[in-house]
Amino acid sequence: MNDASENSKGDDVFTVKNLTMAYGDYVVMRDLNFSIKRGEIFFIMGGSGCGKSTLLRHLIGLIKPSKGEIFFEGRNFTEASEDEKIEMIRKFGVLYQGGALWTSMTLAENVALPLREFTNITAREAEDIVDLKLALVGLNGFGAFYPAEISGGMCKRAGLARAIALDPKVLFFDEPSAGLDPISSHRLDELIVQLRDSMGATVIIVSHELASIFDIADRALFLNTATKTQGAIGAPKELLNSEDRAVRVFLNRGVDPLEKKENKSL
């Protein structure tokens, strides 16, 4: 699945330098500097509307940075030519918030499309791989269903099957537990860890689900809405007592453990 030369765990997969994200004149976040290590489960967290999903869209190349650069495996992703970019993008698998399955195709066709387009395997082999990927996400036998015929949670899992169709080196998740009940959400978390362990992929997750963050994150990056830049970065358990007050408050659900409760007046 991974080339031998790129198999060394711990080197940087993504390096973000001085990234400023903006829509026109409206700056979402500025001066982001961090790197994501190979094989880790990395969370991007922050309050609603802080630009988590926007950052994800920058990392997968859907939006161009208004300033700064993103490096993927040491190569400049921002400045890369269209062909180079496509070559890098093929190493990504993305699970969008609602699954983003192509509604005019069955689940099997959804998973098979990238296989047919980018590998030269036969239809029979593709079918076998599709069966395997659907089975991996617990959708064995649902291949002939259309996205409109299954539940939201199943759509999400089918989206995951499609995302791992080409054995990606980096897996992106946009709010994986949004809209899932606690049990399904926990199962999805377990599935993410298993996939990471078995495929050796790096996992980047955008989420504000504290349970998931404490459960499976190796490291997490906090985006601070108030300062419009990055807050603390590190293992979630350590961040609980971080020097960054905003991240402490976020991870403790609005309560700062280091601060005595004081009587607020208007």
């Binding site: 859907l62 993305v94 969008y96 983003a100 192509w102 980018f118 607020k264």
Partner: protein, 358 residues
């Protein structure tokens, strides 16, 4: 401030203007007495919230400790998060005509650039397709051809039959004054083949298919399906737009020929039924009036109209805003613009044909 009586929705209460006037008269703190307060609902809370904002504005200290517990808690909640500056949208004044003109002009220039880019991408895709390198599914192309061709036949038949009928009726009444009803065959034949066939197919298809393309691609964008294509390195232009444009360009000439024939049948129904022209006479007159040049002008135009409907429908869909409202807007814009551009293109053709004497 003494708060008394009932404060309920729909009841008259002290005007805010008066309160503000009193507050701005130089007092340094505001506290309340509520002994005579009766029933109250959000009307009172909203008045107090406004008072709080006035007080902040004039630097007056706002004391709430004498208010009932429930009111205190609600007020605390309301002022817990200060009003965000960035939340104030810069609304532009629609009454300012210069500004409006500027916005519209910039918007028009933007859409020109967008179309230029889109048509450029599409041209690259078409040239790739010539060398067999375009990435799309033949199955999609065939399904689209089925949807935009055979399935459109009934509505195209109905509309063109009626158009032929109307042309014949209006024309024959005038021609009858000179005793030359038979020329209605020429009139209907030439009008359908040169103009009405292609235009009617264009109008019907922009409402039927162009709108469908815009709505389809727009919802795909809202569902992030378009992003999903991009993150697999598959160009939506190649995979989604190219087969749609190709399907319409292939189907439009066929639909136009079909509309021409049905339109002439409509004319014939009037000619034979109301003006006693013989079947053979009508047929002979029609065939004498038409030649290959006239038929091919109509077909040539239909190729362009097909491209217009498909390109505008797809472009509007792909640039739709990410909401159901956005999809609705894209659909409307696609129909309006397609029909406009079909008429504009037809006018250009008319001038060009006149210059080159076709």
């Amino acid at each position: 401030m003494d708060i008394a009586g009932n404060w309920l929705v729909g009841q008259k209460s002290t005007s805010l203007k008066k309160i503000e006037r009193d507050l701005s008269s130089g007092i340094s703190s505001l506290s309340f007495t509520t002994e005579k307060l009766g029933k109250y609902d959000s009307t009172l809370v909203s008045m107090l919230f406004k008072c709080h904002n006035f007080c902040r504005q004039y630097g007056i200290s706002f004391k709430i400790d004498t208010l009932p517990q429930g009111l205190r808690e609600l007020l605390k909640l309301a002022v817990a998060v200060p009003e965000a500056d960035s939340a104030k949208k810069i609304g532009y004044n629609t009454h300012n005509i210069v500004r409006m003109l500027g916005e519209r002009t910039l918007g028009f220039l933007d859409s020109c650039t967008m179309y230029a880019g889109f048509i450029g991408d599409l041209t690259i895709t078409f040239s790739k397709a010539i060398f067999g390198k375009a990435r799309f599914r033949m199955y999609d192309l065939l399904t689209l051809m089925q949807r935009t061709g055979p399935e459109a036949l009934p509505i195209v038949a109905l509309i063109s039959f009626l158009v032929g009928l109307i042309l014949a009726f209006v024309g024959a009444i005038q021609l009858a004054k000179y005793g030359s009803e038979i020329f209605v065959a020429d009139l209907v034949g030439i009008a359908m083949v040169r103009e009405m066939g292609a235009i009617m197919v264009g109008v019907v298809m922009s409402g039927r298919t162009g709108a469908a393309f815009a709505a389809e691609l727009g919802s795909m964008k809202v569902n992030e399906e378009i992003s999903a294509f991009k993150t697999f390195g598959i160009s939506p232009i190649e995979f989604l737009v190219y087969p749609r444009v190709l399907a319409l360009i292939l189907m439009f000439p066929l639909l136009t020929v079909f509309a021409d024939v049905i339109g002439m049948l409509g004319g014939m129904a009037i000619g034979i039924g109301m003006f006693d022209i013989g079947y053979e006479q009508y047929m002979n007159r029609t065939l004498a009036a038409l030649d290959i040049v006239q038929i091919s002008t109509g077909i040539g135009k239909s190729l362009v109209f097909g491209a217009i409907v498909a390109v505008i429908g797809c472009q509007k869909g792909l640039s739709a805003e990410n909401s159901s409202l956005g999809v609705g807007r894209a659909t409307t814009a696609s129909v309006v613009q397609s029909i406009t551009w079909i008429i504009v293109a037809d006018a250009i053709f008319a001038v060009a044909f006149a210059i080159f004497d076709i």
